[in-house]
């Protein structure tokens, strides 16, 4: 009996056991996210052939979008005032930013299913942020295909596009990619928060994520002014690539906004992430009171 008692540590008696009892912050969220992602990557690698096939498929599927644009340009030379390299620049920036967000947060649309089948509860039992657990759920490494494809198009566009590069313009490219990815991540989180309320409406967020990504591949001048206003002021997707890209390409802004707006992407991204975080907390709180 003494030996047996020694085998087990007395519950909760370890030194510093309370050190991590505080409300988990962003660092803990990232740490847990990383832990779970690593597990999914290892699970994926248990079926290596399948991974290669689906990653190639992901690459090819996104490449079809660009093939459509190439087909269009087989019949025209200018679309909405943009040449092919310019459209490719728009395509490359949004696809890369969206690809990163899709890789990091694309699993948010599985939340509704977890709410419906009750498996969300098991995530709530762990001493880890639920957002990190949901975002990392079924982490799909195959989505590297989309990033690769977007990156290749962006690389080609950067070589071909007719721009007088200044240090500011060069710096703006990585800034817009990071900000764009953050804005799309915020949309994914907000979409997840909405699924707490309507668990089988996960397709709704596709219209903003995939739909938004498709829209940003074309020049803003193509779309009706109200639509451009909508994606500037309501769901600020215009800050993913349109506004900074217009600055880089030296094209006029169809809404006639002041020039400094073109540099606001990082601020908009921070704002979006904050709002999405608040929406997420409200959604989780509502789930915990209704258990719907």
């Amino acid at each position: 009996m003494a030996e047996a008692a020694e085998r087990w540590e007395r519950a909760g008696s370890g030194p510093g056991a309370d050190r991590w009892d505080r409300r988990p912050g962003p660092a803990e969220t990232l740490r847990v996210y990383g832990l779970i992602v690593r597990m999914w990557v290892r699970s994926t690698m248990a079926y290596r052939m399948s991974f290669v096939m689906t990653a190639l498929g992901n690459f090819a599927a996104t490449a079809l979008d660009f093939a459509t644009i190439l087909l269009m340009f087989s019949r025209i030379t200018v679309l909405g005032g943009f040449t092919l390299p310019e459209v490719a620049f728009l395509y490359g920036t949004t696809s890369t930013a969206f690809g990163v967000a899709d890789l990091l947060m694309g699993s948010m649309d599985r939340l509704g299913r977890r709410v419906r089948d009750g498996t969300l509860d098991t995530l709530l039992l762990r001493p880890a942020p639920v957002l990190a657990q949901v975002a990392a759920d079924r982490f799909a490494l195959r989505r590297l295909g989309r990033i690769t494809q977007g990156g290749l198009v962006l690389g080609w566009a950067l070589l071909r596009v007719d721009v007088a590069w200044t240090p500011g313009k060069v710096l703006l490219v990585p800034v817009m990619l990071v900000s764009g990815a953050a804005i799309f991540c915020a949309v994914f989180v907000a979409g997840g928060a909405f699924q707490f309320l309507a668990s089988d409406a996960s397709e709704l967020q596709n219209s903003v994520t995939y739909g938004g990504n498709t829209m940003l591949q074309y020049p803003p001048g193509v779309f009706a002014r109200e639509l451009v206003r909508g994606v500037t002021f309501v769901v600020p997707l215009a800050f993913v690539n349109w506004l900074p890209a217009l600055h880089i390409l030296g094209e006029p802004d169809p809404l006639g906004l002041p020039r400094w707006v073109d540099f606001l992407s990082p601020l908009v991204a921070v704002g979006c992430c904050t709002l999405a975080g608040l929406a997420w907390r409200a959604g989780l709180r509502s789930y915990r009171s209704t258990g719907s």
Partner: protein, 289 residues
């Protein structure tokens, strides 16, 4: 995860079994079941209608820019091109161009070995799944097709026909397209008998379908030989032909030629599916299930 997924042959209720003698009645009942099965997801349908409409809107504007540059591109006026966009959104789910049909379920049954049971049932495997999938198509045409079309007609000036005959011919073309769509996916699903990991085949079939159906761009816009080949492939029967019938691009006997094109592909692919099914059945018998 465990047990039989909903909507596979064994689950047909007693009431259906009674009418099994009347073959037509039996398959009609399976069609109705396929329809009802998808009709239960109302919120999902509403969300899907919204998403289809948003995509329709985005694609419409890119087409307007394209047709502004090249009026009469591919023989379409701008109004016809926009109509084509919304027909595409209406038929996206009907023809299961983004997946979501029966094929995943059938492949899972093949992989798990449950298929052996299905092959010994009196109901024909291909006929059963065809009926169920046509029921699904019918639901998606009504549930996910009509409203985006109305939305498109409200926002844009569409070239919709005013005579009932054209609409009727369009419905026939959609029905034939749905059969071709099924026949292709049935062949894809049966590949699971020979390939352990069918993900690759499904993926290739899905990509080919998206591209060669004309979902991304009308096949009439495809340049040169690529266009000619694309218009002759079975995927053209799923969107390009129904859209052209609705747009009144085939006159007189031309409509019959277009429908015959669909019917031919339907018969050929269904026959190929039947052949493959019998080979697979023999294989299952040899292996002992």
């Amino acid at each position: 995860m465990l047990g039989r997924p909903a909507g596979v042959p064994g689950r047909v209720g007693g009431g259906l079994r009674e009418v099994r003698g009347q073959v037509g009645g039996f398959y009609a009942a399976v069609v109705v079941r396929g329809f009802r099965r998808y009709a239960t997801y109302r919120t999902a349908t509403a969300a899907g209608v919204f998403t289809n409409s948003v995509f329709g809107l985005i694609v419409s504007y890119s087409y307007i820019a394209l047709w502004d540059q090249r009026p009469h591109l591919g023989g379409y006026s701008q109004a016809q091109a926009l109509t084509y966009v919304w027909v595409g959104q209406a038929l996206l789910m009907t023809m299961a161009l983004m997946g979501g049909g029966f094929e995943d379920e059938l492949m899972e049954r093949i992989r798990s070995g449950d298929i052996a049971v299905d092959l010994y049932r009196p109901a024909d495997l291909q006929g059963w799944w065809l009926s169920a999938d046509l029921g699904r198509s019918a639901f998606h045409l009504l549930g996910r097709g009509v409203l985006p079309m109305v939305c498109g007609a409200l926002v844009f000036d569409l070239a919709l026909p005013s005579d009932a005959v054209t609409w009727l011919l369009f419905l026939v073309a959609v029905a034939l397209g749905a059969v071709v769509s099924f026949a292709v996916r049935f062949l894809v699903a049966l590949s699971a008998f020979w390939l352990l990991d069918g993900a690759g085949v499904s993926q290739i079939a899905w990509l080919a379908g998206l591209f060669f159906s004309g979902m991304l761009l009308p096949l009439t816009v495809f340049p040169g030989v690529l266009g000619e080949v694309a218009r002759a492939l079975p995927w053209a029967a799923m969107l390009q032909v129904p859209a052209d019938v609705l747009l009144g691009r085939h006159r007189g006997a031309g409509v019959l030629t277009a429908l015959a094109f669909q019917a031919c592909w339907g018969v050929v692919l269904l026959a190929a599916g039947r052949l493959l099914q019998s080979v697979a059945a023999r294989r299952v018998v040899v292996q002992g299930g």
